[in-house]
Amino acid sequence: MALLKVTSPHAHKGHSTAQLMRLVILATLPGFLALVWFFGVGVVFNVALACLACVGFEALAIKLRGRPVMFYLRDYSALVTGVLLGLSLPPYCPWWIVVVGSLCAIILAKQLYGGMGFNPFNPAMVAYVILLISFPVEMTQWAAPSTLLEAGQTLPGISDSLQKIWAGVPIDGYTAATPLDIMKQNNSLLVADVYANEPAFNTGTLAGAGWEWANIGFLIGGLFLLSQRVFTWHAPVSMLIALTVMATLFHDGGSSSSGGSPLFHLLSGATMLGAFFIVTDPVSSAVSKKGRIIYGAAIGVLVFVIRHWGNYPDALAFSVLLLNFAAPFIDYYTLPRTYGHAKARRATEKEE
């Protein structure tokens, strides 16, 4: 009788990493559907292409590193990166944008650092920022939501979209300024007037047509993940609270120099996608509960600062990357108080 000699514990239960990743992908569904509904099939192509490219690059990198390809692909992490990158890119952008983004995300931001678990930065955000800085024209042409379309005009069809994506055949008038752009450009109208006059706002209800629903979709997905205990509430909630507090402080009573209402900030741009799918990325965030609260709050503050005073209309990717840098530092000073210790220690304590 060959007895197994292993150390305790002998029992194991709980989600596997792959299950967690599948849950994350599943939870993007409401937001994804909202984006497709308002911006058309371009979103589907983006996500599909990004997923394909990411998995392809992941397989290539693992193969080159001489590791078992299927073992690593089965953790679904590349797929998650693909989905998140696909969701953040402008619909109908050229195919090579998506592929270059995937390459940056998987090869540059992830595999060069040692693969899953070792990347200091969120791969999708690294890719997004590289693309935004390298190809600003392609990256700032957002499709107009369906509510903005004039009578008789429809969202680009499948063949139009494919031609646009693969051959660069232009589509007439499919782009429009995003609510964040409009709010940033505005320096003469009261916020209330903006809401009343701008079609991007007056065809929506809370924070701009289309965007508000996409954000609500991601919020629903995030709450689902929270209920599944895929992550803890600390980072996303503190980020949203910090953003709300900043927006409230600088709302300025809705004057022409206002940054917009708290609700506007919560439901526009990448706020909810970021709060529940990017900020919660465990690999690149702080580890302790206290650390995650600080991490999330700092991202929330930075998002508002860059949106309001910076040059870019949205700021999530930059904020997340900046805090990825800071995460190890936060970790050093936010160890929890261990049983039997009067107070929490610092990770730097033993260093002389």
Binding site: M1, L3, L4, K5, V6, T7, S8, P9, H10, A11, H12, K13, G14, H15, S16, T17, Q19, L20, F71, D75, S77, G115, M116, G117, F118, R229, V230, F231, T232, P282, V283, S285, V287, S288, K289, D331, L335, P336, R337, T338, Y339, G340, H341, A342, R345, R346, A347, T348, E349, K350, E351
Partner: protein, 764 residues
Amino acid sequence: MTSLIRIRDIPGGIHPPEHKDQSLRLPLGSVPLPPQLVVPVSQHIGEPATPVVSVGERVLTGQLIAAANGVFSANIHAPSSGTVIAVEDRMLTHPSGMSDTCIVIETDGKDEWIPLQPCEDYHALDKAALQEKIRLAGVAGLGGAGFPTAVKLNPRSTEVIDTLIINGAECEPYITADDMLMQTRADEIIAGTLMISHLLHEPKDLIIGLEDNKPKALAALQKAAEGTRVQVVEFPTKYPSGGAKQIIQILTGREIPTDHHSAYIGVICLNVGTVAAAWRAVRYGEPLISRITTVVGETLEIQRNVEVRIGTPIDFVLAQHGFDAKKASRLIMGGPMMGFTLPSPSVPVIKTTNCILAPTLKELPPPAPAQACIRCGLCADACPASLLPQQLFWYAQAEDMEKLQAHNLFDCIECGACSYVCPSNIPLVQYYRAAKGSIRQHEQEKEKSDRSRRRFEFRQQRIAKEEAEKEAKRLARKQAAEEAKQKLAEKAAAAAPAPQAEVVAEAVAKARAVQQTPEEQQAKLERILAAARNSLEHAQQPLVPNEEGAVITQEQLEKQQARIKQAELKVSEAEKKLADFMATQNNSTAAPADTPAPANDPVAAAIARAQAKLSMSPEEKLRSTLESLQTRLAKAQEKANAAKAEGSPTADALQQGVEKLQQKIADTEAELAQLAPAASEANAPSAEQHAAEAAIEKAKAKAAALATMSEEEKRAEQLKSVETRLQKARERLAKAEADNDPNIEAFRNGVVKLEEKHRELQDA
């Protein structure tokens, strides 16, 4: 009974499937006596017990077979009557599979007990006697750690115990041994609790705590506790609430500070089984020879709790329960969370065996391959000690000892909750155990090297101190010498402005020197000679390599030879001086003939002579010397003749003196003839050279002899020489004592030193 105890929650924790039903369906069973009992002498934390029986001896049930080795140990008793057939190393019930001394008893089936000493009323005993009874019975923590119970029941006098917690939580899946014990022997547990309370000076709270998944045990305990101070408290089921630290936190809200025992915060925590065993030890005088164990797992036909004798081989127990070896994947002692896999099924049941788990492959599948840590933090949420397991894992992989300790690795209780929840199947606890082990080892090594470094530094310090002292002495001597010189110069300058002054001073000094008794001078010279010989001997000693294995270099050899030569020169010089002195002494013995009544003031006489000399030309000087010598010779001759005629013992010496004088006269005449003052010098150096050469030859011969001698012979040679020297030194000392010599102390020291050396050589 509603309790007054407030239940607190612990951080973290998990809810694994309990699997407790299957072993509770059957009543408590028993296992027949096996043909052989294998009883390890180390079943507890602390020193192994020392066997007190020999092979072939017949032992009775409950007889002491291995005695506790010190306080931190426990007695071991024969679990049944029979014959000791071996006291040998057998594989232990330990994850490592290591072997240690076991006492093997071939049972005779009679189970004949030794006479027991029951105690009807423990209140009649004093506390020390009560504690001794528990100690003698070999009771050790039955919950799993095996901590000697008597030690726990004897807290420091500064630690006031206000809470006694009896741990019946049994939070591990599968295990129901304590549950069964509480159901069937609740009265023993309550009685034991009261007894230990008495022993601990009646703490304020007596609490039996158990998880709320044991309603039958709770009811039985509550019934038994009616009318007593004991509070039976249940709390929500959550692993690992049964850990001592955790149950204390749940029931009191207190945390044991790291590096302390629970008594530090006024709490003693004992397992229910331990309490029952302690009670039986006092009430019935029964030593700990059996325990209740859960035998469970899908590979068994019968799953239940059994009372089993310590030492029963586990495969024997399994065979009694229809064990299907083909289905088994592993055998675990303890539960699935903290138990360990058995190295072999034949190891025995020991005092801490609370469960034997024989699962199928399906029940506890082999661990899946580990994936990368994604730092999801599920482990941190599950950790009851509020650690960051993902960070510990990271630093354990990096072997960053400092970071591991800063992250409180040593507060990890190895409960396994983190590994249980890890989505990447990382065996976290295994990493922590390994890291703890290497840190401990590292610290031990560090301590060792620190110790030797301190020793080295101390030695360096001591040497430096000695050097400094020597240097200080040297400086003092130098200063004294300079001062003396200066004084002399001043004196000389003051005494005479003319160059004569120096000559006068010299003469004065010489005369003063002469004033020293000859014995003193001789002793001094002999001392110098002895010292010179000593250093020669030292220099001749064979070279010892600085370090083991090092080779003696050519350079070292040359240095040694140089040292030997120098020493030889010194010896010859000293020998010559002594010889000269002896000669002058002979002269001076003759001198009295020259000046029968030695000048009352030889200094004045010398001054007069010197001054007279100064005023003479060299030729005149020589002449006057010659004259005086001739007078002296005549007188000496006279004296010698007289002595010869009388047969005086000094005759020879006097004759020698005469000869010397004759020689001197001849020399002076020659000098005078040549008027070359260097004439006399030519003689002296050649004589000196000759002496030195002889000494060198002698020393060389000795060194050569030493080199060819074996270690043994060398020692014998040295011993002999030391003995001779010692003999001489003793004689000299005796003489000095007789003469009441002022240097007697120095002689005595010399003898003592030689004696020491002699002893050393003899010892070697």
